[in-house]
């Protein structure tokens, strides 16, 4: 997994790319998010457009991101889901947990 952090006004966009899996030794989404939360960021968009593959540990990271944000009084939204990630969220019913947007722009505006 790689990531890039962009500030769009008062919204923090974390652009993720690559594989989010256990075993590659780099499921660090949670840590990256906590870093932003501890800087006081409250509005966060995870752009998943470039995420090619995700396993149950990756889904666990998304859920942990969601709950960590909540604990900090912040909110995490998702954008740019590929069909594959969208399917995974549907199957696991995580689509009922997350607000998802077709584009990062829409997600940013939605706050």
């Amino acid at each position: 997994m790689k990531y890039e952090v962009l500030e769009k006004g008062n919204v923090t966009v974390i652009k993720l790319s690559g594989r989010i899996t256990l075993g590659s030794g780099d499921v660090k989404l949670r840590d990256k998010l906590v870093e932003e939360l501890e800087k006081g960021k409250k509005k966060i968009v995870l752009d998943l457009g470039e995420v090619s593959f995700m396993d149950s540990a990756g889904l666990g990271e998304l859920v942990a991101a969601y709950t960590s944000a909540k604990r900090h009084g912040a909110q995490v939204k998702l954008s740019n889901l590929t069909k594959k990630i969208d399917d995974l969220l549907d199957i696991t019913r995580l689509s009922s947990v997350f607000e998802t947007y077709n584009s990062t722009e829409e997600a940013v505006k939605s706050f």
């Binding site: 256990l22 075993g23 593959f53 149950s56 859920v63 069909k83 594959k84 696991t92 947990v97």
Partner: protein, 137 residues
């Protein structure tokens, strides 16, 4: 034609990537859709990770064996660890309201959605999960 392959390795999570790439290369001989390959690869990963983490308690010395067998109709994976297995019927459903925000517990659920048959097998030396993939659909 792939008939039977066995990969034996120690409990090291980085082996999961290696097994996945072996499978992705082997699977090229069949004309499966890319998405389907991804879901099978995901299932295989989940089973291997479980064998390492839960079956072998992350103890490096303990071994995992992945067996891939294929005929014209099916690919069958068996993932063996050195543990005692678990009671499948007691697994919580990860899609219910109270479990939805748990960071774990989606592996077996995903496997059961993505492959065409799942079996659990106990033998003297350990526990195995069998994943069956139908090649004709």
């Amino acid at each position: 034609m792939l008939n039977k392959v066995s990969i034996l390795f120690q409990s090291d999570l980085s082996m999961t990537d290696c097994v996945e790439e072996f499978f992705r290369t082997a699977v090229k001989r069949w004309d499966l859709e890319d998405d389907r390959i991804d879901w099978i690869a995901l299932s295989l990963r989940e089973a291997v990770n479980n064998a390492i983490i839960h079956g072998n308690s992350n103890l490096f010395e303990k071994k995992v064996e992945v067996v891939m067998e294929a005929n014209e109709k099916n690919i069958v994976f068996k993932i063996w660890d050195e543990g005692r297995g678990f009671d499948i019927n007691s697994l919580p459903d990860p899609t219910t309201e109270e479990n939805l925000l748990r960071p774990h517990g989606r592996g077996i659920f995903l496997i059961s959605k993505f492959v065409d048959g799942v079996k659990f097998i106990c033998r003297e030396t350990g526990f195995g999960i069998e994943l069956k993939v139908n090649l004709s659909k």
